[in-house]
């Protein structure tokens, strides 16, 4: 890690910890600076917009951490000699996104105490940003199975399923359980996928 990204990263990590502990509204710039072990001036140098900019960067970093977890799951299933199916890969991606979200203390804290902040990213027009990001990521994860266009649609489907589940959890729909992910993917996604050829 270079010097220029080390400090912003440290501040964002500190903000994740502070928000997880005390929620967003009650987290001041001073709290975050103290957690990061630096002064206010250092925070302002890295984030000239102050607290708002730190919070925005922190939310984006949290979204990125979910995508990183998905990438990890996709890669594990994408070894050259791997014999898994498209359905298995997609189910693993769904599960890893759900586990990352349910174990992310700052996100859980916001969902419970200050849901407006998160919902603003996840409802109506604003949610297109997350859907586009998921489509883009899925093209890389799934290109060995389907066309880029098809992979982009699958990525969008995954983001919708994970986020709807986050908004209204329902017994029997626990996406941290791989078997539930498999059932969902095999029943509702796979039959509608258009294949390039007759292959797997």
């Amino acid at each position: 890690m270079t010097e220029s990204t080390a400090i912003p990263n440290r501040i964002v990590n500190a903000a994740v910890t502070v928000i997880g502990r005390q929620g967003l509204r009650a987290s001041s710039l001073e709290d975050i600076a103290a957690e990061a072990g630096c002064g206010r001036a250092t925070v302002y140098r890295a984030f000239p917009g102050g607290r708002d900019e730190v919070m925005y960067a922190t939310l984006m970093a949290s979204v990125d951490s979910i995508f990183s977890a998905c990438e990890c799951a996709a890669q594990c299933y994408c070894e050259e000699d791997c014999c898994c199916s498209l359905g298995e890969s997609v189910a693993a991606i769904l599960q890893s996104a759900s586990i990352e979200i349910s174990s992310h203390r700052a996100l859980q804290r916001l969902l419970n105490d200050e849901p407006g902040v998160i919902l603003d990213l996840l409802m109506f027009e604003r949610f297109n940003f997350v859907l586009e990001k998921a489509s883009f990521a899925a093209v890389a994860y799934l290109e060995r199975f389907v066309s880029a266009d098809e992979a982009a649609k699958i990525g969008e489907w995954c983001a919708r399923v994970v986020i709807e589940n986050l908004r209204a959890q329902h017994p029997g729909f626990d996406l941290t359980d791989l078997a539930v992910c498999r059932q969902l993917v095999d029943t509702f996604l796979v039959p509608g996928i258009q294949r390039n050829s007759g292959g797997n």
Partner: protein, 194 residues
């Protein structure tokens, strides 16, 4: 005045107050003044006061929204067509709802949790409507007999709401795009495949 009517009148007045001045700026006194009732009357009908009024007002608007869509589905038989019409009217209704769009641009953080809660209530209604549709479809031999109806209705209800509120890669004003969406993400998993 009949208690039900009076209660109703207060909720409708709250909706008009939100239209005029947004969510944050409204006080219980404003609503009492506009409805020409006393604070005590409001507390008798709505013991939790302002918060309860706002959440009931939002729930009423959301139910009205879905009620209008439901009335358009009365003469439609085919399940796929019901999904298509719901998506098209839902997306159109959201885009054209001026109060919603105005509150989203100015008071999203206040509105969204209320809307989310109201939608959860409506989602229960949508789910049970889908359950009926699925049973009827299985009966008629059009849908897979081994379908897990509870699981399927949950998925279909969520996907319906997700797609109508955020279009993603689909164009919900284009019948071809809607047709493709319903075919892939709604019908493919539940109909009998050939």
């Amino acid at each position: 005045m009949d208690p039900e009517l009076r209660r109703d009148h207060v909720i409708e007045t709250t909706i008009r107050c939100i239209e005029n001045s947004g969510l944050r700026a409204i006080s219980l006194d404003d609503i009492a003044d506009a409805a020409q009732v006393s604070r005590a009357t409001i507390y008798r009908y709505f013991p939790d006061g302002r918060d309860q009024l706002i959440s009931e007002a939002v729930t009423r608007e959301v139910s009205r929204f879905f009620g209008q869509i439901e009335s358009e589905l009365e003469d439609v038989d085919e399940l796929a067509a019901k999904f298509r019409i719901t998506l098209m009217l839902g997306a159109k209704g959201i885009a054209e709802n001026q109060l919603l769009q105005q509150l989203l641009s100015t008071e999203a953080e206040e509105l969204l949790p209320e809307l989310d809660m109201a939608t959860t209530v409506v989602q229960g209604v949508i789910r049970s409507m889908i359950v009926e549709e699925l049973h009827a479809g299985i009966e008629k031999g059009e849908l897979r007999p081994d379908l897990d109806v509870g699981f399927a209705s949950d998925y279909l209800g969520r996907m319906l709401l997700s797609c109508m509120s955020t279009a993603g890669q689909w164009d919900l004003s284009d019948p071809v795009s809607i047709n493709d969406l319903v075919d892939r993400w709604f019908m493919a998993g539940i109909r009998i495949s050939d």
